[in-house]
Amino acid sequence: MQRSTTVPPSAETRAETAAVTRRINRDRIRKLLLGTRDRNGMIKLIAIYGLLICIGFIYLYPILYMISASFMTLDDLLDSSIQWIPSSFNLDNYRQAGASMNYGNSLLQSFLIAGLPTLCNLVACSLTGYGLARYKFRGKGIIIGLIILTFVLPRQITMIPTYSMYANLGILNSVWAFIVPAIVAQGLNAPIFIMIFWQFFRNVPQALVEAAKIDGAGHFKSFFSISLPTAAPAFITVALFSFVWYWNEFYLTQLFVHGVLVESSLTTLIIQLQNFNTNYSSYAQTAASGATNLNESIKMAGTLIAVLPLMILYFVLQRHFVESIDRTGITGE
């Protein structure tokens, strides 16, 4: 806006230009702060980032607390000057917690108890979802209604007869109590998985299926070679969620696999964590060498190692977890 003239500007024009520049500057600042149509303003961005970071901290607070506390020695716990950072890198808590939880054995069994039903879930739910998505038959509406009902209905209502049924069949307190229902698509949260597969297979182009049919593919052939290869994202999502949910399930695992009155040898990390106090005291009695009294740090170390496998899984496969819901198309097209 500066006019390059040889004549020195009069006081009037100088004031005018100054006003114009000031207005432009004010405009620019306003744009920067409040934003334009295409760009968010500074104020809004600061507010969003601030809120997200604050809430993110609240979210992570228990986990950070758990990690921090798990390294503390008893002295650190009692020392009020130590809030977050322990005075020394102390792994003794982990050693004791791991020993009292019988870590290696429980870890292996956790993998089995979560993994085997997950495989069955994958097979059964994908078949059911495909049948619902691809074919028309009488009673389909009723089946879909029942699937939604089973999702909403608390498991407690069918739990007691199922328990006595398992007892009669002799599969109580074994992995079979989880595998058998999963084979027939009645596993943990199976309705969600059926819905995911149903949604997914509905979006397989009908033309592909018809082309396969003309080429002489039977029903199972077209399922295996046309629909299955396209459904990899759905399979990954279902496998991950099923694994995580079986891993974290305490109520049913204790009832059907671990046993309530008579405890079987099968156990998972989550069950060991629930019974941590009793386990630890019995451990401290038997192995008197170096076992201190149960304190907060040891409990936190136990909690951390119980979720550690899942955390590792999460951070390794983060993309698959975070994008899972986008990919399954639960939210419609």
Binding site: T128, L153, N248, T331
Partner: protein, 342 residues
């Protein structure tokens, strides 16, 4: 081009096609695929449902020969409702805390999703943080964390908040709200999946709608209420149902613990029957809750569809009337031997 409702073929004109062999074969294949589920539903859903109802009407004692049933009719239910010291208070507590915490979780999830939907950097990182609790939320871990008071934030003085709340609200409502504050973190942890569902739905809203609204001079606030929220409505229902189901099946819910302990209680009046009756009462309450939320957030049919249906019904009634008159004429014609007037 204006769109009219396609005139439905009249009933008498509609051709009824018998299902051909190909279609039958297709249907059979479909049933084949769903067969595992059907068997499973019969064995693990329908049969236990009936049995559990039968159990609930009986007192069951475990003997060495098996279960011994004594028919009580509604005895278990009246005993639970009238003389069980724990069940009814816990049920009320559960109901109140769920009714309060579910909207909190869903609204919170929606806010986070709206923020993450803006053009910001580090979106993936934030999504990673907000989804992390999904893999950790399980009863024993939550118990262990709340035991050490890690479920509350020490920065916020929850005592002061709860004190302030209970001073001006009746105790019945104040207690669950205070509980909400003291367990804020663990409650927010349930919103991992809802956040992602909302986010995914937000990304699927047609951008041209916003552009059209912008051209018409709508503010961001108006766009949120007129475009974003209506598009998210089905997802709100989905998230409410999801949250109810997951909050209910978590071990922090004391009711399900009560049912389990009643199941294995050695006393003569408790046992399988008593626990089944509890489970039925509890399930009815859960279904009721889901039903209420479904009624609130169910997407209503739009105006056009409603009108079309109304017109359809009217046309049907008219047709029926005409048919009735024709039939009467035919009857009269037969009776009086008069030629039918068409």
């Amino acid at each position: 081009m204006t769109t009219y409702a396609k005139p439905r073929p009249k009933k008498e004109n509609r051709i009824r096609v018998k299902r051909g062999p190909l279609e039958k074969q297709e249907a059979r294949a479909g049933v084949m695929f769903v067969l595992p589920w059907i068997i499973g539903a019969a064995v693990f859903l329908v049969y236990p449902l009936f049995m559990s109802f039968w159990y609930a009407l009986n007192n069951i004692r475990l003997t060495s020969e098996g279960m011994r049933f004594t028919f009580l009719a509604q005895g278990n239910f009246t005993q639970i409702l009238l003389s069980d010291p724990d069940f009814l208070p816990e049920l009320v507590d559960y109901l109140l805390s769920t009714v309060i915490s579910v909207p909190v979780i869903v609204v919170f999830a929606m806010m986070i999703a709206l923020m993450l939907n803006e053009k910001i950097k580090g979106k993936g990182f934030f999504r990673l943080i907000f989804f992390l609790p999904v893999i950790i939320v399980s009863g024993p871990i939550l118990n262990s964390l709340t035991e050490q008071n890690a479920g509350t934030i020490s920065v916020i003085d929850t005592q002061a908040v709860t004190g302030a709340i209970s001073s001006f609200l009746p105790e019945v409502i104040a207690t669950p709200i205070a509980g909400l504050f003291s367990n804020m973190v663990t409650i927010l942890w349930y919103s991992g999946v809802p956040i992602l569902i909302f986010l995914s739905a937000l990304q699927k809203i047609d951008k041209s709608q916003y552009e059209a609204a912008y051209v018409d001079g709508a503010s961001g606030w108006e766009m949120f209420w007129k475009i974003t929220l209506p598009s998210l409505k089905p997802m709100i229902l989905l998230n409410c149902v999801y949250t109810i189901v997951f909050v209910s099946s978590n071990d922090q819910n004391k009711l399900i613990g009560l049912i389990k302990s009643a199941m294995f209680s050695g006393t003569s009046e408790k046992g399988y029957g008593y626990a089944s009756a509890m489970a039925w009462l509890y399930s009815l309450v859960v279904l009721l809750l889901v039903g209420i939320f479904a009624l609130i957030f169910m997407t209503r049919k739009d105006r056009y569809e409603k009108d079309a249906k109304k017109a359809d019904r009217k046309a049907k009634a008219e047709r029926r009337k005409v048919l009735k008159i024709q039939r009467r004429q035919a009857r009269h014609a037969k009776k009086y031997n008069r030629p039918t007037v068409r």
